[in-house]
Subunit: 391 residues, 2 copies
């Protein structure tokens, strides 16, 4: 799953000896580790690559040693910090032995001393290393600067760039996350009935995610005029005939995100809202049709915006958006954002395209699909209905 | 829900004019705001208190304006940043109008310019303000230092200290989170059958959380010897007769966490494991009995550790732990940690007490209960079974 070749090439291209990730997302990206202690308790974990390594070096809290074994994570070497009391029975397996070895070997007092030892164990051929800054306090980063000979630069942007292009394993997870998300919406919508509260529909949707092995990430569900609140928090508002139901919902599956939006009508919709839906849906389709390797974000952005303005001059005030989509991956907003001047889209990117319309007092209308750019054009992971679905 | 009086007193005691929160947890603590854009996309939100204010000043992305209205959050004033296109129908309600007003009034280009304007709108009576550092990059913090006259100090520790003492509303949420967590374990355990996989039991537990309005936070469930892995990731291991089942599980309810642990035996357990369970459970009870306003963490730590070593000299190798518990609140590990030298426990704290025992090759045995320290002693939110429950 790790994009080892891409990572090593990026180091060479940038004249870097070493690349260090310090945020939960990028540690996962460079190593496959999801440290519970880092994610929940804010403790530190690091993943380190060097051009000559075939697997990363991992720095993690001693208590997380078993996660490496459970997830079968390949590594070059592991440095732990902190103590943890793990006793041994009489009949321990090779896996149990590995947990104990990881925990005890290369054990340091602090995460920073473990990190410095790991870095200093590597041969330096140039004089530059890149470290993601977000996992450090000001004083910690100063300490690292003082104790490492080579020049340190921030790795944050490099890591965001790397993560834009998804490999086969990532695409598989992203596709599966979309399938689960779509299924969950479709199954939740079957439970819809007159007078039900938004939060009941939200719970129904989230239960469907869990039953398929995914986790809820965000659940914006609004009925009628509440659907016009961009981040509608599902509340006690009850469903009435003629209400539009807007879902803008996200989940994670195997650490990869899905973010899709759907709008349904409960009973016959207002004909104007129906036409608005069709224009917005058409603009998304148009944006997706324009996606290909080498296209600029300007083309996609203007394509979607212009489509709405051309097809719905009587329907919308001048339609405007800050962006019409974004990359998606480990984060729900991976780079790039689909707004003007954000550069060139490339084969291997997975993107969300979304032209939502929020009209206070009336309704929110939103469609959002996920798409994979390949050398043969854009492949959809999800499909909106061309007409507003009436339930 | 906001501890306004405590916050203002803390400002006065520390000779501070202004207190600024920048992390999602502390913004929520100081204002009740849960900004989706901050939590998911890493954008900035701030909550600002000053001694004369009866409600906080809130800085947030324009797109999150509707969250303030949905959650009915009281505020002194709101500063937004960034643009967001929100159209108006013909029949907008007072709530809709409020969303639009919040979004448009005091709108700034960047979060830092919004923050600086908010701070500079306040009268200064001393020369010190405290800002939580964790929500800023190095360069952002430097920019703030340059553009604010008074001396800035880090508010991180002050905010952790404040959050240790829970108010009535917080205690209510924490208690409810524990009840849901306990119910979910009890309902999940009813689905246990020979040969089932760990991940099926995990899914069953997590579905129960969702159906009660809570969210899964972490789910360490291990059967037999896999239960000895501290952060056991539920996998394909199947349940066999005589296996212990260890749950160490957390959820959130209304933004407050619950973390409890339970151990069950599937069929008749090994008598030694049964006795070990009873000693560990007894040590937890003993630790909870010792909890009261004014007791030092040393007393609790030593009480729990000594209990195990005295009651199980034939059962355990010398029993050792880094800590025997921790505070719990918005974070699953709130301050204080129950280890030596961590100071005095106080009325109003909510704590987890946990003496787990991990024996590689054999099993993990863990009990963890949640307790509220009051002026009348410790009140339990949860209760472990004194004997190992056989299912």
């Amino acid at each position: 799953m790790i994009s080892s070749t891409r990572i090593r090439e990026a180091l060479l291209e940038n004249g870097l000896d070493i690349l260090v990730a310090s945020s939960p997302q990028n540690v996962f990206y460079l190593s496959g580790l999801e440290s519970l202690t880092q994610r929940l308790l804010g403790q530190k974990a690091f993943a380190i690559w060097q051009t000559d390594l075939s697997n990363p070096i991992i720095v993690l809290p001693a208590v997380d040693a078993s996660i490496i074994v459970d997830a079968n994570i390949p590594y070059n070497s592991i440095y732990t910090y902190g103590n943890f009391f793990l006793y041994e029975g009489t009949d321990i397996s090779p896996s149990d032995r590995t947990v104990q070895t990881i925990k005890n070997e290369n054990n340091f007092e602090s995460p920073i001393s473990a990190l410095l030892s790991a870095i200093n164990s590597l041969p330096l051929t140039s004089s530059k290393i890149a470290i993601e800054t977000s996992g450090f306090s000001f004083t910690e980063f100063d300490e690292i600067r003082k104790r490492i000979a080579p020049k340190i630069e921030a790795a944050d942007d490099l890591l965001s760039d790397l993560r834009q292009i998804k490999n086969k394993g990532e695409v598989k997870c992203l596709k599966q996350a979309v399938e689960i998300n779509q299924n969950a919406i479709e199954n939740a919508i079957k439970t819809v009935e007159f007078g039900m509260a938004e939060h009941d529909l939200a719970r129904s949707y989230e239960s469907e995610l869990i039953s398929q092995g995914a986790y809820p990430l965000f659940t914006a569900i609004g009925f009628g005029s509440h659907g016009a609140y961009p981040h509608a928090v599902p509340g006690t508002r009850t469903l009435q005939y003629g209400d539009l139901i807007r879902f803008d919902v996200g989940c994670t599956y195997s650490n990869y995100s899905s973010d899709i939006a759907r709008t349904f009508s409960f009973g016959e919709p207002d004909p104007i809202l129906q036409r608005k839906y069709e224009v917005l849906n058409g603009s998304m389709d148009h944006g997706i049709d324009l996606l290909c390797d080498g296209v600029s974000t300007d083309i996609i952005f203007n394509g979607v915006i212009d489509y709405v303005n051309e097809h719905g001059p009587d329907l919308f005030p001048t339609f405007d958006r800050n962006h019409v989509g974004h990359g998606i991956g480990i984060d729900v907003y991976d780079h790039p954002t689909i707004s003007p001047g954000m550069g060139t889209l490339k084969s291997g990117m997975v993107l969300c395209i979304e032209p939502p319309y929020y009209e206070l007092g009336t309704a929110g209308i939103q469609v959002e699909d996920e798409v994979h750019i390949t050398s043969n054009g854009a492949k959809r992971f999800s499909h909106c209905h061309p007409d507003l679905l009436i339930i």
